[in-house]
Symmetry: C2
Subunit: 415 residues, 2 copies
């Protein structure tokens, strides 16, 4: 019978074998005392199995509190692998998450536990379609080839009217932008009703497409309750929109999958709230595991922060996240990594050097909107940055050859 394997990074004041066995017991057939009915046959079929324990360093202070340990105890770290038969939960994503990421974080035997990766059996490919559009579909829809999609976020995050937003989109479209998105804080503010914003923006985008053949992709934030999201989705389809944005952590797995399953729009998965799940090195979940869950749900575009971002995340972690999105999962479409946070074009060089890919949605907010030559200059500067980077030019060489990117460097280069 096929099994799902979860890889954890753990810390425990107990023997590693014992702590791992508690995890496996708690998350399958065990409880705190033996109970009638827990037969050998049942255990054989449904018990989680500790597959592998790789001891790592030991430390003298626990990473997170709540363990029962003797004074002076050492805390042992390890990478462990635990497996479950797919007979336990089949192809039910929420129950898979409850099994792999449920009560185990509360177990006193651990002073640290992070889900690092998941290995899915091949039958999952028959039960989950994955991203309908992914990299190829996103780029094709926006008419982009041979370079990253260049995108931006409407800023100020919240407060602009539909007309003001549409005017900005017009400027950006004329500047050659590929992608624009609502901020995750904006869905339907008092002065920007969702439908009004769609009408105003799609008028601009459809006009521009009619004139130029290029349809700018706009990710409208439809995050809300299920029925409202479905209503908004239909509205978007009728208006000729190509993309919808979901704040995946806030909406949750079942709601997000319901939206992905509609299959007509590219789904932009915004991971706001991610810091809560990931920032501690020994609590929560790492992106390689996280992105697999959302790929199964069908998300087409996934945020990964960016090189030298304004947030806490390290470049190494960002590079790992980009690589995770670009690794194959069965024969499914790959989600396009959404590079964002404090980006202005200067990071294109290091991003290219470390990932050697243009299969990115490369987003700049302030980096475009606050460009010295205005948003038009901002879009051009980003295209120039990537052109330079892929050609093998340095940042300085690119700044010299391309005036708009040069102005970016003057304004943002010391950030």
């Amino acid at each position: 019978m096929e099994r799902i394997i979860a890889k954890y990074y753990i810390e425990t004041p107990y023997e590693l074998e014992k702590a791992a066995a508690v995890l496996a017991g708690e998350q399958s057939s065990g409880t705190f005392v033996a109970v009638p009915g827990e037969t050998e046959e049942l255990k054989q079929r449904f018990a989680a199995r500790v597959e592998k324990i790789t001891p790592m360093e030991s430390v003298s202070e626990p990473a997170i509190p709540g363990a029962t340990a003797k004074p002076g105890a050492m805390y042992h770290r390890a990478n462990i692998e635990v497996s479950w038969s797919i007979e336990n939960f089949g192809y039910n994503l929420p129950v898979m998450v409850s099994t792999l990421q449920g009560n185990l974080y509360e177990i006193t035997q651990f002073t640290g536990l992070k889900l690092m990766d998941i290995e899915l059996p091949s039958s999952y490919a028959d039960n989950f379609i994955g991203p309908r559009f992914g990299i190829a579909g996103s780029k094709k829809s926006a008419g982009v080839e041979g370079r990253p999609m260049i995108g931006t976020i409407i800023k100020p995050s919240i407060g602009l009217s539909p007309a003001e937003t549409a005017a900005l989109v017009k400027t950006l479209a004329e500047a050659g932008i590929d992608f624009v998105k609502d901020d995750e804080l904006q869905s339907a503010a008092a002065n920007s009703k969702f439908e009004d914003r769609v009408d105003a923006i799609m008028r601009v985008i459809n006009d521009h497409a009619h004139k130029t053949g290029k349809k700018v992709m706009y990710a409208f934030n439809l995050s809300d309750e299920v029925d409202n999201m479905l209503r908004r989705y239909e509205y978007l389809v009728k208006a000729g929109a190509t993309c919808a944005m979901v704040s995946i952590n806030s909406v949750g797995l079942s709601g997000t999958k319901k939206i992905c399953d509609q299959g007509e729009l590219v789904i932009h998965g915004h991971r706001n709230g991610w810091g809560m799940l990931n920032r501690h090195p020994l609590l929560g979940i790492e992106f390689p595991a996280y992105q697999k869950i959302w790929r199964l749900a069908g998300v087409d575009q996934l945020h990964v922060n960016g090189i030298a971002n304004k947030f806490w995340e390290s470049d190494d972690s960002v590079v790992r996240s980009i690589e995770a999105c670009l690794k194959p999962l069965f024969n499914q479409q790959n989600p396009i990594p959404v590079v964002s946070s404090g980006q202005w074009g200067g990071q294109a060089f290091e991003t290219w050097r470390r990932t050697q890919t243009t299969d990115l949605l490369y987003m700049a907010g302030g980096g475009i909107m606050a460009h010295p030559d205005g948003p038009t200059g901002g879009v051009i500067a980003l295209q120039q940055a990537w052109e330079g980077a892929v050609k093998g030019l340095s940042l300085a060489q690119t700044a010299q050859q391309y005036p708009e990117f040069g102005h970016s460097v003057e304004k943002f280069g010391n950030k």
Copy 2:
């Protein structure tokens, strides 16, 4: 205009006022550079506002990594309050969560950030019904008055067939149990199809109700994708079930609310995954804030761990969680606190002493199923424990007067 207030416990190497201002800016109209369109009028209407800063202790080591701080910096802790106009997101729960719990956890100015509580404006009462059943509806449905509902979890968590599960439910019903639930790991295992389990169990429960007038509440774990949950919900209603269980973190906010909105079944909200969101003292969310979000979604029963539980959570935290559920929110029904984890009746005394309430769903898994006199003895022992506690007897006195509880003490008293 009404405002929503969020209370955070923060840690920062920066001046408290500066760090708080960054949070407010990031989560409303600001970005990393000033942008055109960010007018004073717009800021006035949509900017988040730092309402209050209460400095706390300073420490020499950061609680979580990722901050940009000078070597030797001190890390200042504070309770802060930030408010947003409801014009920003209205009555959209996912966008409210993205605003109050979104990118802010990734801000480098913080080395710790926890959402402690939320104050909701009164217009929320007109837009969210809250729990349809709550404490009163749950107790009434199960025929319980003047004492906690006594419940148990089917153990082994996973592996029993529908017939085996139903046989156990029969034993428990005859012993006088009020409530039984699926484990969160069990929804539809290979040997326990959801519908088959419903058929087998509801036959027992309906028979028992027919004979005795008492309908045992069974929380069937319908957690899954939205359409499957709705299908299962309908199946439950037709079968005469009174309750459905949702793993709220795994299913997510939109999916859970969709289920609560059906309004015919009591919704048992299982918070597995909670440790990931809460275990670190300076990362994530505290229960007083968390439970409000799920009350707005309409969850009727909410897990709070229990006194002397088998997990990491302290008694103080459990008591605070019970109190949070019992505090009024508008004029809505209160969710019934689900006390569980390592409970066997011995904790009834301390639970009563500290909360003085019987408005609880008091759950014991192994504590009932592994009772020396069998599950029947386990149920009786729990009722006796609560009877003794409410009468003002001590554990020892209750053990002496009531034989089944006495046997519990012999078996579990040293745990």
